[in-house]
Symmetry: C2
Subunit: 131 residues, 2 copies
């Protein structure tokens, strides 16, 4: 299917004019030249996906509880009470954080222990600097 843009502005007309002939029209146009190549659509999706993992207050607190733990390992039952959320909801958020590569899950006996993947938050911050 063809991607047809309905919204047409004169700004694009100015761009075509300036690249093909004179540059006198640039002064009154709004089009700004690029200094470097913007992020590709794929890179933007990756960055947005990583940010979305930390875009919920419950998940931010989950990560905070892990980083605040002395042992670095926290089991699910330690999350439910301080957050005031049900156990299925906590498990749901933990899964999102694991899928995003932020938390690590290790099952030992009955309990599931969650720990922070080293450098995960750092690489998340580094992604922001690349935008």
């Amino acid at each position: 299917m063809l991607n047809v843009s309905i919204y047409v502005n004169m700004c694009d007309t100015y761009r075509v004019m300036t690249t093909e002939s004179s540059s006198s029209a640039l002064a009154i146009a709004c089009c700004a030249p690029l200094e470097r190549q913007p992020l590709s659509a794929g890179d933007a999706v990756s960055i947005a996906r990583a940010m979305k993992a930390m875009s919920d207050p419950a998940r931010v607190r989950l990560v905070s509880i892990v980083t605040s733990s002395a042992s670095g390992e926290v089991c699910v039952c330690d999350f439910t009470d301080p957050l005031g959320l049900s156990q299925p909801t906590v498990s749901h958020h933990l899964k999102i954080l694991v899928d995003a590569g932020i938390l690590h899950r290790e099952k030992r006996g009955i309990w599931a222990y969650y720990s922070l993947i080293p450098g995960a938050l750092g690489s998340l911050a580094e992604l922001l600097s690349r935008v």
Copy 2:
């Protein structure tokens, strides 16, 4: 209304036991002590809100186009074509980025110029390090 937790686990029972009497039950429990205080609910909401602003691929690309611009100023008409989105949708995303304190909007004549607020992305990355 009273907040009643339906989900009850023995882990909490262990915690009460250890704080009130001996600590022999701690070894078999899953409860981990805290090294420092986790983020408050309010702080978590603030951080999550900031992250949500960058949790959409279109908004990530919008910011990237601004930072890639030689002049540092980009008008709306420069956003629509590379993103393949309609003009109302682009305006919608730009408003979210402005409200989040990431972009600055300046209306000059017919056009609206958007520029990056200095240090906005840096403080966003700094927020992550505080989790």
